[in-house]
């Protein structure tokens, strides 16, 4: 029995205005897995995530839980259960930490929001300490934790993370990936993560793709990618 993948991209093309970035991207994300997307700058990693969220115009087949995402506005896609932590974290800088977290739950109609708020404060005590502060006053690492907690406030079925380690100290990056790994193993959260820090990402990843000039050049399990000579040289540095 083959299960339907949670997210499926087939021959996806897209870009900005006249500039085509994606030239036929195929990505499959099974429920409960962590999928890593590697690639050089400009290969189309961020654009792939933005195409999923409807932030760039995309053609081809994009399906989430069997439903097409093509042509849907970003807010509708978010409401389907896809949470996206964009590059640069996308916090609401001049709003308080607590407002940021509550906004994460915008699409929810259930009454578990307060309980979830307490839960993420427990998970990230620094956020509780700073809940009345504006998000922009916090350090990069704290903001990344906030961005992750905000995304989780939506109780997403799929979490998209764009370069979460960007600008973070190595120790903070390590903690972040440890948290992500926990969320995946303990709660079965499905994650697609675009990352330059291939080592850390493949540690928690099940499957990986390497994007080159808008196409998938290599794919395989995390272990296979580690063994791949080209991937090792380009992204793992040994």
């Amino acid at each position: 029995m083959t299960e339907r993948p949670l997210l499926e991209l087939r021959a996806v093309e897209g870009g900005y205005g006249q500039v085509q970035v994606l030239r036929g991207v195929d990505v499959t994300v099974e429920e409960g897995k962590v999928v890593v997307i590697l690639g050089a700058n400009g290969a189309g990693k961020t654009t792939t995530l933005r195409a999923i969220c409807g932030m760039v115009k995309a053609h081809g087949e994009l399906r989430f839980d069997g439903q097409s995402l093509v042509g849907k506005p970003t807010q509708a896609i978010a409401r389907m259960g896809i949470a996206h932590v964009p590059q640069g974290r996308g916090t609401f800088a001049d709003l308080t930490v607590e407002d940021n977290l509550r906004l994460g739950a915008t699409a929810r109609r259930d009454n578990g929001i307060e309980a979830d708020l307490a839960r993420w404060y427990d998970a990230f005590p620094r956020l509780r300490d700073r809940r009345k502060q504006t998000a922009g006053s916090m350090s990069g690492g704290e903001q990344q934790m906030l961005a992750l907690a905000r995304a989780m406030m939506a109780r997403p079925r799929l979490l998209l993370l764009d370069e979460p380690s960007l600008g973070l100290a190595p120790l903070v990056t390590r903690e972040l990936f440890a948290r992500l790994g926990e969320l995946n193993t303990e709660e079965g959260l499905t994650v697609v993560v675009v990352e330059q820090n291939a080592n850390l990402a493949l540690d928690i990843g099940h499957w990986g793709y390497v994007l080159e000039t808008g196409r998938i050049a290599v794919q395989g399990s995390a272990a296979e990618l580690r063994e791949n000579e080209a991937v090792r040289q380009a992204y793992l540095g040994f």
């Binding site: 969220c53 932030m55 506005p73 970003t74 807010q75 509708a76 978010a78 409401r79 949470a83 996206h84 964009p86 640069g88 996308g90 916090t91 609401f92 800088a93 001049d94 709003l95 407002d99 509550r102 906004l103 994460g104 915008t106 699409a107 922009g136 990069g140 903001q143 905000r150 939506a154 600008g167």
Partner: protein
């Protein structure tokens, strides 16, 4: 001293009006990043509606509520139909040109629809005054202040205590992230424009009711003062708009009384104030500096 206090009160009375219109300007600036040059004329049209309703024997307070409601819908529609299609990240001037066009168009429309004769909106507040010591206090001034306090309170409750308010603030802070958490930013922008238009309608109608008569040009000078108030407060601060409005109103009233050189050319003061603020403190008193952190 007595003259000083009565001028001070006059200034506060005017300042309250500038503050209301500045609030409307800031509301739109915060959510869309544009200055709505048509804010005054939108208020003018609504004021004419208020007058028309009172001519039809609707009590003045109900007439103002009615035209504020119509202004709310019209403001939302203007955002959707006239502003959003021309909005472009690459060319922010597009929207400015459209609001300037609206300035002229709405003014002409008002003249066409309501004629050129000066009209009178019935008084909302009692026109008499009372004395505290030697000082003469107009009840109208107190009424205007009460309305401004009420408006501020409602706005504060809406923005700080409701889910819709949180979403409005989110869109003002980061439109992209707002969409990513599932907020329909378009609806929020329409709401912002609608609220601003309704605020303007109330301000315009109240000014017209305290004046002996109004015509199609009466909002233009008020708009200049409101711009000065918003600039002083820092264009993205609602608190700043209120403080700026009061400061501009009082400064103007005192200057007219005590600075002979300004006799007969009152609008010089707000213009000079705009210039000084932009030169000395471009973010105004309460405006936020754009801070980027990586």
């Amino acid at each position: 001293m007595q003259l000083f206090i009565s001028q001070l009160l006059n200034g506060i009375g005017n300042g309250v009006v500038y503050a209301s219109v500045a609030l409307a300007l800031v509301l739109i600036y915060k959510s869309t990043g544009i200055l709505n040059f048509a804010q005054g004329e939108m208020a003018l049209f609504a004021t004419y509606l208020t007058w028309k309703f009172t001519e039809g024997d609707i009590p003045v307070v109900a007439a103002i509520a009615l035209s504020a409601g119509i202004a709310f819908v019209a403001g939302a529609l203007i955002e959707r139909i006239l502003i959003r299609p021309v909005e472009s990240a690459h060319n922010p001037l597009n929207v400015v040109i459209v609001t300037l066009g609206m300035f002229l168009a709405i003014n002409s429309l008002a003249l066409l629809a309501f004629g050129t004769d000066p009209q009178k909106v019935p008084n909302v507040f009692p026109t008499d005054s009372f004395h505290i010591g030697d000082t003469n206090i107009q009840k109208e001034t107190l009424g205007l202040i009460a309305v401004l306090i009420g408006e501020c309170l409602l706005l504060w409750l809406l923005l700080q205590k409701t889910k819709v308010g949180l979403r409005l603030r989110a869109v003002a802070s980061n439109p992209d992230s707002s969409r990513l958490v599932g907020i329909n930013t378009g609806v929020m922008l329409m709401l912002g424009w609608g609220l601003a238009a309704a605020l303007g309608a109330v301000a315009g109608s109240l000014v017209a009711s305290t004046d002996t008569a109004f015509d199609a040009s009466f909002m233009q000078i008020i708009l200049v003062y409101a711009f000065a108030a918003a600039a002083l407060g820092g264009f993205d601060s609602l608190v700043g708009a209120v403080v700026g409005g009061l400061v501009v109103g009082v400064a103007d009233a005192l200057a007219v009384e005590y600075v002979d050189a300004l006799d007969g050319i009152p609008v010089v003061l707000p213009l000079a104030l705009i210039l000084v603020v932009l030169l000395v403190r471009p973010n105004g008193l309460f405006g936020s500096r754009t801070v980027e952190r990586v």
